[in-house]
Symmetry: C2
Subunit: 498 residues, 2 copies
């Protein structure tokens, strides 16, 4: 095994930090697939793959044997499709089965009800079920993450916690397979620091990227949590969420060029028909596991925020008696692969055998079947251009609304700062006049004067800070609007060339 490395134990888990991926030549042979750091030798993933769990995941034959790979024999998440003869597009091709768990854990320290109990419950379930990949959001406390890491070390030896913002991103990933590399992208807009009651700003909402290689297939796994929607009728955060959806799509597009499979899991805080979801899916080509699943089991319409859950705010769900679907697993295969969602499940309120659910959200569990196809695919998305142009137009309009609101707020805060400054100057003149003996016949109202001065100073500081914040907001909204405009022009002038 010339040039093959071994896995490195890093703080109780196995990790390899990667460098630039060596350009792959998939047209030649599978054996040349290798994700190499610029300064690291070729790494053989097979040599340290965690042992499969025969009880939970079927094991039959090694993908690499059939694909002519030179990686050594190892336990592999490979199984023939159940009933492959009728279902598999290419009979005899081996299938990689991947079980994914996604949950917004609602684990906010001091605020979330029965947090520690629920985190323990989540850990127990994950350990018992033995998924391949676990994507968790709202794990705001690093202690909770560390507790989970210790508990899950046996079955999910690889994990990553993404740090950002004041509180953290809340995002973490647990995996049965080695994590090769990670990257965090913090969204440029994420609510307002002064909206303390909503608090999204303090979370530093981001998208985390985790790169894995499972039996020779490069997975780019993205995990994210977008800004919450507090009032659907008058959603002041819609422009920010749209900027986030746009940046998420851009980030996925630019970082997934060497991937074979793209997975995105998380709480997108958007209903399936919302413009942000359509924008994200249209720009990236990601497919919705719920919409594509062969078998579905769970809450009606795949809802993940349901009135039956004892932790949800019932008044928020009044217009939606069945609940809403805002947690997603999206995916696509690039290059020589096809992917199918064979099964999608959601939890339904209380955890099995318990009186409480895992979280105020329902968990989403998908089983994906990934298969190599004979011919690499070309660009097949061109036909949806016109529909996407409509989506981008709609999104751009909403961003434009946000831009004008931000411009108004910038103007008002700027004007307020100028007024406060003028008041301070006037007071300074008055004080100097008094000191110089002018108007000495009248007593100087020291108390009111001081109160006013402090008030003016406070207003000046706050409105200047607001002005700066809204200036940044205007810049980012403007930049996104421009980018969308460029995309739109490109789409409109090439509607049918795909």
């Amino acid at each position: 095994m010339g040039g093959l490395g071994t896995w490195i134990p890093v703080r109780g888990q196995f990790r390899v930090w990667g460098g630039p991926y060596v350009q792959e030549r998939r047209g030649k042979a599978w054996s040349t697939l290798s994700t190499l750091p610029s300064f690291l030798p070729a790494l053989c993933l097979g040599s340290a793959l965690p042992p499969s769990q025969p009880g939970s995941l079927a094991l039959s034959c090694s993908l690499h044997c059939l694909l002519g790979a030179v990686t050594p024999t190892h336990s592999l998440q490979v199984s023939p499709l159940p009933g492959a003869a009728s279902k598999a597009p290419m009979e005899g091709e081996p299938t990689l089965r991947l079980r994914i768990f996604d949950l917004n854990c609602w684990a906010i320290r001091y605020l979330s009800k029965r947090r520690q109990e629920r985190v323990r419950l989540i850990g127990d379930t994950l350990r018992r079920e033995g998924f391949d990949l676990v994507l968790l959001q709202e794990v705001w406390s690093e202690q909770d993450y560390n507790d989970l890491k210790v508990k899950l070390a046996g079955c999910y030896p690889f994990s990553h916690y993404f740090r950002s913002g004041v509180i953290g991103s809340g995002l973490c990933v647990f995996s049965r397979f080695p994590i090769l590399d990670t990257l965090l992208y913090q969204y440029s807009l994420n609510g307002y620091p002064y909206m303390l009651q909503h608090g999204d700003w303090f979370g530093g909402k981001s998208v985390g990227l985790v790169i894995m290689k499972i039996s020779g297939i490069i997975f780019n796994v993205y995990i994210t949590h977008l800004h919450a929607e507090y009032c659907r009728d008058k959603d002041a955060y819609l422009p920010h969420r749209l900027v986030q959806a746009w940046e998420l799509a851009q980030f996925i597009r630019h970082t997934s060029k060497a991937a074979d499979m793209v997975l995105l899991g998380g709480d997108l805080n958007m209903h399936p028909e919302d413009v942000g979801i359509r924008l994200l899916r249209g720009c990236t080509g990601l497919r919705d596991a719920f919409a594509e699943a062969t078998h579905f089991e769970g809450c009606k319409n795949g809802c993940t925020l349901v009135p039956d859950n004892c932790f949800t705010d019932k008044s928020e769900l009044l217009p939606f008696p069945l609940g809403i679907r805002i947690d997603y697993i999206l995916y696509k295969a690039i290059s020589s692969f096809t992917v199918k969602c064979e099964e999608l499940k959601t939890t339904m309120g209380p955890a099995p055998g318990m009186d409480i659910p895992f979280s105020d959200h329902e968990a989403v569990m998908a089983t994906l079947h990934i298969q190599r196809r004979g011919q690499p695919a070309g660009a097949t998305l061109g036909t949806a251009d016109l529909a996407l142009a409509d989506v981008v137009t709609e999104a751009r309009m909403e961003v434009g609304v946000g831009l004008r609101a931000a411009q108004r707020q910038r103007y008002f805060s700027g004007r307020m700062a100028v007024l406060a400054l003028l008041l301070l100057l006037l007071q300074a003149v008055a004080a100097l006049g008094t000191l110089a003996g002018l108007g000495a016949e009248q007593p100087f109202p020291k108390l009111s004067f001081c109160l006013l001065a402090f008030l003016a100073l406070g207003v000046l500081v706050l409105s200047t800070a607001l002005h700066l914040f809204h200036t940044m907001e205007v810049k980012m909204l403007h930049g996104t609007e421009d980018q969308m405009w460029m995309a739109l022009r490109a789409l409109q002038e090439h509607p049918s060339e795909g």
Copy 2:
């Protein structure tokens, strides 16, 4: 030309907005190279390449003919090397010659001396010289960018301005070749908002990515400007600059996987031997145009901040009588290409025929020769592992120093906030006591009381804001330290397997 598109005029310039790159199979044939948006058809760059300027750039033969490409015949920046018979590594292989201009323009509105005159001068020179690619930093005013865009529309029909922060990123790119796609990554740390006299925080320092395809070769061009160094002996911003260098390296690694050529230009605010530069180059494999240039012409040691420049602060350069080199053009070829820097030039103070220089920085101009090689290269960087481990250790130590400083500041600001809150509470108790008639025998000092209350409130607000800011700083420094630790472990355990 089945499936070939045309270029789209966008706001007076030509732009195409791209989607995810279709996986390339370079092992097969050149003709399959295509950068495709997910919803756009294959685009033929050749069909709208700007006409070459025979006066400034040699034109001899089309690269695509020799490489068996199917792109149509077009004018191309292709020339045989001067004296190719002796210099070219593979005689007869055509060479793409690319002339790059990089300058920190020092164009801060109201602050920079003779700004408008210098921007005009830069525009005139760029128009006259006809570079292929122009990378400008510190173009803080969007008006200056727009003026340049109008002036340069003829010779650089493609351009992009990156928006971020309060003032902007200051980064812009002008190109003779179409820009396919762009992405901006804002660094997570960038100085302190309260350091008004330095002001880096307000610029929203970022790295901008511009993707181009020149005669079938995919170029990922990065432009950046890192945090300034105000005091080399006691550089409080070193940890922030190192986090930026690290994030820059990570961003380049993750987004350049589908590129054939990587170029980075900008003001890195680091001397060539500084740990940040070594970190960046070690992690990305980028090569320094100055160090590798066959011919050099310009300021001694390639300095770009020199005492001879009438705009530089002479006292800052006292320890460096020759000046310092902080502006760079770095590059590397991936996949089947080799790149050589044939010539590097810097300006030397006053612009030709003028009494003033372009900026307080000298411009860097590189001529790169890119050639296809017979065999794709493997990973050749493994041997430098040990040296890189030392660099990462050094960088991590500096980040650790910054982390402890940030933790101290977070602690002090937090304690100050708590004290201010206690004072306010005490005052509230005293006021309530007075209202209730206790201690009524003594006159209540209203003025001092109000002054004190406002002071406490001001301290509370400011120290809370500081506490939040330093909490974020701690999070990002901690995250970077962790990432570096992972990288280090991987390097130390694989020192010689390359």
